[in-house]
Amino acid sequence: MRRTYGKEIRRWLCWLVAGYALSCRGLLAAEPAALLSEQEFLAELPVVLTASRLGQPASDAPNAITVIDRDLIRASGAREIADLFRLVPGMYVTYATYAKGLQGIVSYHGLGSEFANRMQVLVDGRAVYNPTVGEVSWTNLPLAIEDIERIEVVRGPSAASHGANAFLGAINIVTRHPAQDRGVFAGWTLGTRSVNERVLRYGGNAGDFDYRLTAAYREDNTYEAVADSRDVRLFTVRGDYRFGHRDTLTLQAGYNGGMRETEGISQPSLLDPPREMTVHNRFEQIQWLRVLDGGDELSLQFYHNYLESRDVYLTLPITLPGLGTRRYTIDDTIRADRYDLEAQHTVSLRPGLRWVWGGSLRYDAAEAPAFLAARVGNRSKRLFGHAEWRAAPRWLLNAGAMIEHTEFTGTDVSPRFSANFRLAPRHTLRAGVSRALRNPSLFEEKADRKVVIEPFVVPRFLSSGNLEPERIVSRELGYVGELAPLGLSLDARLFEDRINGLIRDQVVPFDPGPGRIALPSAVTRDFRNLHDLRQSGLETQLRWRLSRATRIGFAQSYINARSDSERVVASVPRNTYSAFAIRDFASGFSASVLAFYHDEVEALGAADEQKRVSRVDLRLAQRLRVGASRLELALVVQDLLKDGYTDFRHENVFDRRAYLTLRLEL
């Protein structure tokens, strides 16, 4: 019997040196026609589609959910992440520019303001809102739109699943796994309004470690009459390491910085002239996921967000009695940190009974001498649990709650219940009730914003503190259905929400203190729990895949708002509509159209009245294969049919614009 020692030695060397590396296979493949082994049939595989990765199907979920997937993101032609939310029924999206440069405002069921803080926004499980003012700074997120795999929008309070601040709803952004983006990707966009963007991404793999690096540079100038140009420098990195068959470690870090032009409202302004500020945001995140028997999961996560906006500038020449005429230096810098440690356990207690529970510890701190009297910190901790029980073949019951304790507001509970009844295999009715609360932001609780040029003081905000959290009780009746042979899915939601203790600022008398003179008058703004609001209405969403190449969608919402404050009612759009149609052709050409409409709105805060808004966007793209690489050239025109509508304030005139994008995948 012949024995080929040469092959044996090579094989053993291979295992000694390289382990599972591909190089090993290369060496072995050098043998002519390697035989397929039975091991390929018998090998153990790591669990990839875990409970959390699968998510719940829409028919089993306790809330109404809208999913925006990658294909829809690409077909929309959106450059800004905030724009994508116009596709969600009931969502109000606009942009403001004052005091912070261009900022997207995304708020479900109205109540938008320059500090839209009533939604929880998570990126891969990390909460991204700014604890100081509670807003989500969409422009300053260390996240490139090209790296998004999908976005899940939960319409309705869902603290039990998404944590604190999921007051009106929650947005969960999931980024792509590095293994999906191997190789080099480059994109370049040029357009009107000085749009100039470049993106470079590299995805690689070293054995069980997949990683991705993304760098982007974005430049634009959104509104003509406003100083809002920006240059965004963005860098993110993600690495997923699989060790053993059950454990995955995900590491992420990112940076978003650069110059943002900004100015105060009502130009010309002495104290708030146009100027440049710089932003420096970064985060670090580590998550460990262990898959237990039967698909159960255990996860542990830690992250740190650092947000900094440096705004040091000179006022215009100011003449003050006794002080002559000169320019003064103002420092509006804000620095904020968040540290969060969270653990979550998903377990199948019995077939048909799934239990997810966990807890987190969080520390928020902000330092902003021009906004807060002193460095403010807030420790909070929360415990949450959620059970999903298939009580009978047709009945699925969801029950969950979150218990939260913060230094400011003490302890509170946010429960949520829903019952899903399966009318037919693909048609589900859902009834639910949930309560949630929104804790005041650091600024609402401890604001002390004024400009002091001794002995004069210009008061802006002064909080008397002791705010109660805002509370919402939401009741809904929903329907989720599918007509599979047609590829049609329908989602409808009837809701009634009652919000108590809405926090708003109101003008109050201001005492400048001994030896100081208040200019221009002795009033300031204080945050108080001022209003109640009742909202009821109907939302529907339709998605229809007519064929592999054609997809259309439609979303609608009608909201009837009643409140003791007319302004609060005016911030809620009575009717909103959105629609999209996407068609791919065999030649690699694709066309998509998006249309949006909403009734007049006057958002809260410093917003102006916004007349009815309607807008149509068009995207035309051609894909080409050049050898092994893929190329795509796309033309996007936004606000195609009309020419201009106003966003947050009258000076924010959004006029028709176009840009060209070239994408290359090697």
């Binding site: 049939f41 669990v47 795999e149 293994a179 592999r548």
Partner: protein, 306 residues
């Protein structure tokens, strides 16, 4: 006088022993394993369980020396590709039954073996007709079946093509040579298919590529029909496979039959099979899959009716 009966007894005894030894030697089953994994041990155990207790079974690992066997075995049984390849290299008269290996491996080995050597196999892969009948039963609305092939799995395409045509299903396939090409090829396939049939191959379907394939297919809402329960646990919607115990039992019956004089059947796929379903994934994909027992029964009925 006393010595005669004792001598006779002794002679009878010795003859009996010699006869038993000769009989034992002539009925020995040589069992070669490719490796000592639970699956191989299960096959070996199931084979032994089918054989009469008096039949000696000599077992060793393919990589060990086999100089210890007493006398030529009546039949060689090789479990796994490696054992089959090694055993086929030996020039022996006794037939070789290869068990638990893929058809493509067996056919390669058989082509290279000596002409006179009697070879048969009880394969690990499912017959194409059964795989496609399974797809038709589990996913009645599916029209297009995708196949991602690697260097070792290309031989399965032709029989699958004809079986697909017979079942009214359209087959789309893509072949890749390196793991880096998988994602691109998958994108193209999944855009055109209703279901992905996973076919084993060291380059395409292994634990590092599984992540990518499972996630991508799920993202495209395309269910995967896999070949092992482990793949279903990992995230494939369903699988059709034969357990090592089922294969070992059938192989053991063949060996027992052979020892009793029945010739070995031709190389074929196992008769018994099992089905695994991942409920969570199926629900996530919006599939209305029946439970495993029902699907198994329906597939068995369909096969019997054939």
């Amino acid at each position: 006088m006393a010595t005669v009966p004792s001598a006779l007894l002794g002679a009878v005894f010795a003859l009996t022993v010699a006869w038993a030894a000769a009989a034992a030697g002539s009925d020995t089953v040589a069992l070669v394993l490719s490796a000592r994994t639970p699956a191989h041990e299960a096959v070996s155990g199931a084979i032994r369980a089918q054989l009469p207790p008096r039949v000696p079974v000599v077992e060793w690992l393919a990589d060990e020396s086999n100089a210890s066997q007493p006398g030529a075995p009546r039949i060689n049984v090789a479990v796994g590709t490696r054992a089959c390849a090694k055993s086929a290299e030996a020039s022996e008269a006794a037939p070789l039954l290869c068990v638990l290996l893929p058809r493509s491996a067996f056919e390669s080995i058989a082509a290279g073996a000596a002409k006179e050597r009697a070879l048969s196999a009880l394969l690990i892969d499912q017959p194409p007709a059964r795989q496609l009948a399974f797809v038709r039963i589990a996913l009645p609305h599916a029209r297009a079946l995708a196949l991602l092939l690697g260097p070792q799995s290309t031989p399965v395409e032709p029989p699958l093509l004809s079986a697909a045509a017979a079942n009214g299903l359209h087959l789309v396939s893509a072949a890749v040579a390196r793991p880096e090409e998988i994602y691109r090829a998958l994108q193209g396939l999944l855009a055109a298919a209703d279901v992905l049939l996973a076919v084993p191959d060291a380059v395409v379907f292994n634990s590092s590529t599984a992540q990518n394939i499972l996630r991508t297919a799920y993202h495209h809402r395309v269910p995967i029909v896999a070949f092992s329960p482990s793949y279903v646990q990992a995230g494939a919607a369903m699988a059709l496979y034969s357990t090592p115990e089922q294969i070992g039992k059938q192989a053991g019956r063949w060996v027992r039959g052979f020892l009793e004089g029945v010739p070995l059947p031709q190389a074929q796929s196992p008769r018994e099979f099992s089905i695994a379903v991942n409920e969570r994934v199926a629900r996530g994909l919006g599939l209305n899959l029946e439970n495993e027992a029902v699907l198994e029964e329906r597939l068995r009925k369909l096969e019997r009716g054939r």
